[in-house]
């Protein structure tokens, strides 16, 4: 029994210390990496600050239909999971449309795919017994179900019935009684001041912004400038953090310091417990 407890506590301690060390490394990276001016960002991990602007078309947030450059929403249901009831995510989506960030020196494309996005929630609605969700949520659910039906019909050939019902999203449960649900929307509006830490890379052709105009045209070979600066993009790369936040750099550092302290304390206590059972 003691060996089992030692193993469980030791494993939990290892996981907790891993999270703590990762938060500590991110904090140090934020502190140690100077902020680059956008026009002079070089390939590799970079930190920039600037205001957001849409790349091509402006996005509309899914619930509130506000203009934005990035959105993220979650729909959760309060339901039984094992012995306890808790909030379970039943649907979520993060937009992956690239946007631009601008500072006083230039603009840079950011591809938010797989980014750790730290922004406050825009709105949160709730529904439950005797309380329907607001109209915009009902509209969203209706559209979502319509799109899902079209998709399943196109892929399976089944027009209606069992398959479609599996994927159907509803705020009503058995006998039409409302389920306890919450709907949260996060968004980055245009012209928002953001902090971004990520990998600067040359984007693949599909994501590349319009090419720069050549510096000289039809000019003799010896007088043609040798190289035009290639536009870089900030994006996710495995093994390096990719953070997009509307917080200030100092607040980001503070956040990761708190995270480090919490997880490292938990890890120490768990390891102490593991040692206690090991030597008992």
């Amino acid at each position: 029994m003691n060996i089992l407890l030692t193993f469980i506590l030791g494993t939990m301690g290892a996981v907790s210390s891993y999270i703590g060390i990762r938060a500590y490394n991110t904090k140090k990276l934020i502190q140690d990496l100077p902020t680059s001016k956008i026009r002079s960002v070089a390939v590799g991990i970079s930190e920039i600050k600037g205001k957001t602007t849409p790349l091509t078309t402006i996005l509309k947030s899914p619930f509130t239909k506000q203009d934005c450059v990035h959105y993220h929403y979650t729909i959760e249901e309060f339901k039984q999971q094992g012995k306890t009831k808790k909030w379970v995510i039943i649907l979520q989506e993060k937009s992956t449309t690239p946007f631009l960030v601008q500072d006083d020196s230039g603009t840079m494309q950011v591809n938010p795919k797989n980014a750790e996005i730290d922004i406050p929630q825009n709105v949160q609605y709730k529904s439950g017994l005797g309380k329907d969700p607001p109209k915009e949520i009902q509209e969203f659910i209706k559209n979502h179900n319509k799109q899902t039906t079209e998709l399943t019909t196109a892929t399976t050939g089944i027009v209606a019935g069992f398959v479609n019902n599996i994927f159907k999203l509803s705020f009503e449960g058995l006998f039409g009684i409302n389920k306890t649900m919450r709907y949260t929307e996060y968004l980055i509006k245009p012209n928002t001041e953001v902090y971004i830490l990520g990998q600067a890379c040359i984007p693949t052709t599909a994501q590349t912004s319009p090419p720069q105009t050549p510096l000289t045209q039809n000019s003799p070979k010896q007088t043609t400038p040798t190289k035009a600066t290639q536009k870089l993009q900030l994006q996710f790369q495995k093994g390096t953090p990719f953070i997009i936040s509307n917080k200030k750099e100092e607040n980001m550092t503070k956040k990761y310091s708190i995270e480090t302290a919490i997880f490292m304390t938990i890890a120490v206590l768990l390891f102490a417990g593991a040692l206690y059972f090991l030597f008992q």
């Binding site: 500590y24 140090k28 990276l29 502190q31 140690d32 990496l33 100077p34 680059s36 001016k37 026009r39 002079s40 070089a42 590799g44 020196s105 510096l215 000289t216 000019s219 003799p220 010896q222 007088t223 043609t224 400038p225 040798t226 190289k227 600066t229 120490v268 390891f271 102490a272 040692l275 206690y276 030597f279």
Partner: protein, 186 residues
């Protein structure tokens, strides 16, 4: 009681060793930041140097009285491509910036040159490179300052001394670069 003391010693030892390792890794990371930012300046210095022959080729036909300035520019370019230390690079980079400023200022006296599209695009390109070099120099100096601060504060200084980490030099603009360019109108 002894057993609890053993747990305590083990846990404290793990924390202390972990902390020492994290300081060591952080110093290495800071040192790598400096190397990377220095290399990023080199890339731009090379790009600027590569444009010099193009510039000389364009302007030599027009600016016959500025032969010495063009020769100086070519000489600085040659020295810059072979320089190794950050001090030397900073000095030569400053001299090149200053000489280029002089050439562009003097060029205002030559309307035909001012009308040459190749010259104008090269001037724009070199001006962009100058701005980028200035940004990256600032980035490099921030990286060096971070590192120099870190190796002098406790407890990092103990590890830095143990591994003989020394202060790095800043990329300082030369006096010549700071001077305003004076051009005599013809």
């Amino acid at each position: 009681m002894n057993t609890y003391l053993t747990y305590l010693i083990i846990i404290i030892s793990i924390i202390v060793i972990g902390y020492i390792i994290s300081i060591f890794n952080r110093l290495i990371q800071l040192k790598n930041n400096i190397k990377k930012s220095s290399a990023n300046i080199d890339v731009l210095l090379k790009q600027r140097s590569d444009e010099v022959p193009n510039l000389v080729e364009i302007v030599k036909g027009y600016m016959k009285h500025e032969k010495q300035t063009l020769l100086d520019l070519t000489k600085i370019r040659t020295q810059l491509t072979t320089s190794q230390t950050i001090n030397k690079k900073a000095q030569l980079s400053g001299e090149m910036s200053s000489t280029l400023k002089t050439i562009f200022a003097v060029a205002e006296n030559y309307p035909k040159l001012q009308a040459n599209e190749n010259f104008l695009s090269l001037q724009k390109r070199l001006s962009e490179l100058e701005d980028q070099i200035a940004d990256r120099r600032e980035f490099y100096n921030d990286s060096v300052t971070n590192y120099n601060t870190r190796i002098t504060i406790f407890p990092d200084t103990l590890i830095a001394k143990m591994f003989k980490y020394q202060e790095e030099l800043l990329f300082v603009a030369s006096d010549q670069e700071k001077k305003n360019v004076k051009v005599q109108r013809k």
